[in-house]
Subunit: 182 residues, 2 copies
DNA sequence: TTTGGCATGTAATCCGTTACATGATTAG
DNA sequence: CTAATCATGTAACGGATTACATGCCAAA
């Protein structure tokens, strides 16, 4: 039984399909590519790489540098198979946990200004997200125009933008409603 | 420093502002009220209730029934204060983790049909969510028309609906694009 | 009488973050 | 020379789920 989900190793395998990388670079790469909808910490990455190597799903290309070496990992054929199999399974629905909504739900029991400030923060975050995703999209279309993954990547950007737009509209409408009531 | 976030006890305190309940009823209540954006398991609830009681934030009204008793919890004044303080703090931004997007991002490396079936599932889930939230809204407006929390509750429903609509439109457009390309 | 819902709790385990420990290399 | 960045790893801890253990009561 053990690992039911095992998503960390799959992100690593996925990123290693783009190019071989060190654990450190994988961390950066997670942030830069799937950062709006996924995150991994070193505490997850290094043990996962060890396990992947033990299972023959990745291999170490170089091993040089300092005392503990710099290890460049590459995905193996077995690794591609494992990734393929995982991609065939439907995503396991995640437990929703939205602290903002929780606080709004119980908002009557908090201080009067808190609602407004949380909505403002939500609005600003949504705006920032829209801006960031717009840049991502522009950069993809410029620099990755020939990347074979492009259409998949744009799909994820697209959902991100739509959801951020929905949040923005919601926060603005809610703030307007507050103003009219006050 | 121990508990930085401590959200489980806060959900429980929040729900106990509505009415006193047992641990079992709290579990149902989480599902029925904040279910679209929050979830708690017994493994969290019972220990949390114990800790809340030790801290004087809740008290036990009744203690009867079976061998281990039926305990009806009520929020105390100290509990209301703790909830109030927590509601004053801005929500801690959560790490995004969306497995569907992860799978789409690496979609090229999976089986050809997987993308389509995941999008269909996303579309169907969004539709179901919209339906469920519509019912929640209708029921709130009917049965809780005088509830002092109503406007806050509707705010959370509203965001849920908008985000679900965004997901629905995204999944439909993506499916259409797929069909045109095939 | 047996199934399902009410009810409480613990134990094992996992997933994941943060902090710690260590050191090489590079740019200013 | 020194600060930042590259780089690898472990340890402690906390948050959360799942499974387990137990038993009452009511309805079919």
């Amino acid at each position: 039984m053990g690992n039911r989900t095992a998503r960390t190793p799959m992100v690593l395998l996925g990123l290693l399909t783009i190019e071989p990388m060190t654990g450190y670079e994988l961390r950066q790469s997670v942030e830069q590519t799937v950062g709006h909808f996924w995150r991994e910490s070193y505490g997850q990455i290094y043990p996962a790489l060890r396990a992947l190597r033990d299972d023959g799903l990745v291999e170490v290309l170089e091993d040089a540098g300092g005392p503990r070496g710099r290890k460049v990992y590459a995905i193996t054929e077995a690794g591609r198979d494992a990734l393929h199999d995982w991609l065939a399974e439907p995503p396991v629905p995640s437990v929703p946990r939205n602290e903002l909504l929780l606080k709004l739900f119980f908002g009557r029991h908090g201080p009067p200004g808190a609602l407004r400030s949380m909505l403002r923060q939500a609005r600003d975050r949504a705006l920032a997200e829209i801006g960031a995703l717009g840049e991502v999209r522009a950069q993809l279309e410029r620099q990755e125009a020939d990347a074979p993954d492009l259409s998949w990547w744009l799909l994820t950007v697209d959902l991100g933008e739509r959801v951020a737009q929905a949040r923005l509209a919601w926060a603005r409408d809610a703030l307007d409603a507050l103003r009219r009531n006050a």
